[in-house]
């Protein structure tokens, strides 16, 4: 779309709509509850939008109108929907539209509608090359905000639609190398590993504990490792070893919280052993008393539940 400053664009657009009677915003009653203080230009453009919604017109000028409105309000989902209708009716290049959407996305990275718009376009074109380009686009967006939830969900959708998972593991490695506290990257790695390398439990525990030991208060790698340890005895052994490196009095209490929580969960997995459940309860005691006192009520409750279960097992045998 032409790169004209907004006010000039609006004046040109208005000229093309000279035959259309703008529909004013509906007034609800004598006192609107939450009137929005729209800029005048936006209000004028919306007048034409309402008119063409009513008339059903799909044309170049309506396409231009939608492009202008989303610059003011990228969240207006009806405008995006009308834009798509025009694009299809006019058989416009959807690939070029991705370029337009990229500019709007750069200005509004946390907007739901733009990401969804891109996805609809990609699925409609259904070309794997676009899929790969899209992954690169998302990587660029992640460079400025590595935790953008929309960017990550969109990435997942693209990967699943085009089935192009190579390079994803390496991406998560790079991101976690740069910031081991990036929970989004840990989550993505989990999804990728489940998909590509489900037998890599020990490797994943080693990858995670290497990062966890450098920053023990970072919950993400600990919880990540635990998920693999729960279903793999060798992975559980590796994780236990890593925890034990930190679980001694020489280590600051707050640094013991995560490894203690992990030991609790690993003991608690042994549901048929009252000894294990009692050991888990003792972990909960330490967490409540000194290692994570902020959440003492949670840990006290866990200790109770674990002891009750341990007693039930002991009296049954």
């Amino acid at each position: 779309s032409p790169a004209l400053p907004p006010l000039m664009m609006s004046a040109l657009l208005e000229a093309t709509f000279s035959d259309v009677e703008a529909v004013p915003a509906p007034t609800i009653g004598p006192r609107e509850v939450v009137p929005i203080n729209y800029p005048e230009e936006y209000a004028r453009l919306m007048g034409y939008f309402r008119a063409v919604m009513a008339s059903g017109e799909l044309s170049q000028r309506v396409l231009a109108l939608t492009g202008e409105i989303v610059e003011y309000n990228a969240a207006h989902y009806s405008v995006w929907a009308l834009r798509r209708k025009c694009l299809y009716a006019l058989e416009e290049s959807l690939r070029e539209e991705l370029g337009f959407a990229e500019d709007v996305a750069a200005a509004n990275p946390k907007n739901y509608q733009i990401w969804y718009h891109r996805r609809v376009l990609l699925e409609k074109m259904d070309d794997k090359a676009d899929g790969r380009n899209e992954l690169e686009f998302i990587t660029r967006m992640l460079a400025s905000d590595a935790k953008n939830y929309h960017a990550w969900s969109h990435r997942l959708a693209v990967l699943e639609h085009f089935d192009c998972w190579d390079g994803e593991l390496e991406l998560t490695e790079k991101l976690l190398e740069a910031d081991a506290w990036n929970n989004s990257a840990w989550n993505h790695r989990h999804t990728v590993v489940r998909r590509l390398a489900p037998d890599g439990a020990v490797r994943e525990v080693e990858f995670a504990t290497e990062k966890a030991l450098k920053a023990p208060r970072n919950e993400s790698p600990w919880v990540y490792a635990l998920s693999f340890a729960k279903s793999s005895p060798p992975a559980a052994a590796a994780l236990t070893e890593a925890c034990d490196l930190l679980l001694h009095p020489g280590i600051e209490a707050a640094d013991r919280a995560c490894p203690r929580m992990i030991r609790l969960e690993l003991f608690a997995c042994d549901v048929d052993s009252s000894e294990s459940l009692e050991l888990a309860a003792e972990c909960a005691d330490k967490l409540a008393e000194e290692e994570d006192p902020f959440r003492r009520l949670y840990w006290a409750r866990r200790a109770d539940t674990l002891r009750t279960a341990a007693d039930q097992l002991a009296s049954a045998s």
């Binding site: 009806s78 929907a81 935790k147 969900s153 997942l156 989990h190 959440r295 949670y298 409750r301």
Partner: protein, 285 residues
Amino acid sequence: GGFGGSEDQDPHVLYTLSAVQVMALLGRLDRIDGEAAARYVASLQLGDGSFTGDEWGEIDTRFSYCALSTLAILGKLDAVDLSGAARFVQRCKNFDGGYGAVPGAESHAGQIFCCVGALAIAGEIHSVDRDMLGWWLSERQCDGGGLNGRPEKQSDVCYSWWILASLCMLGCRHWIDSSALAAFILECQDRDDGGVADRPNNVPDVFHTFFGIGGLSLLGWFDQHAIEKPHRNIDPVFALPVDLVRSLNLSATVYKDADEQAALFATMPRPHLDVAPDASPPPAR
């Protein structure tokens, strides 16, 4: 039959829920064509149990919650495949016990509220890993007392609602430090105009004002500090006043408060069917 955000806007399940909630608050539910609204919501459900937001097909567990809550308020939950809806939500459970927008998406406090709420309405809350999720939710409390939405993110008043309501539904309200959270919310109130912002000293908006007040209600703060002044408490499943939830006869399956003796503030009366903490799952429907 659905509602849009304003006149001439396309219908969407988000705004349909808001419309139904507003009409319920105003006592004007009779003015909504309930059948048509229920048909609209039902039309959004896909074969895998998920819900799209509108005709354009975006799927998100937010829409599962909006759909089920709308239908519950209208008394038309039988319009959809409830167990299918629950099954999709369960697929969104992650390795950390939390839930995301779609299967595989990162656990996020807002999505967790929607998933736990949807499961509560569908009668499937027992499928939640209460220990893991309870831990995850209570881990969101930062040193300043506020709650964040994901690990290593900043605290924000809106999470007072998403997290606290989730903890309430799981019977674990007391697993966070209530007075620290209350102090954080109060710090977010603007002394000049009275609104509540996302963080202390930021500009208030109506969303964060709602979340802050809702959070204080769930903490029992008004019962403690405004006992002489008329106030209503909010229900964690439907985000409507508790008395309205009762008069509409809405129900959901939630966990009883597990730590009543540890309560810092008064406990809230519950209109729902309670599930004892260690009960085994109910028989299949």
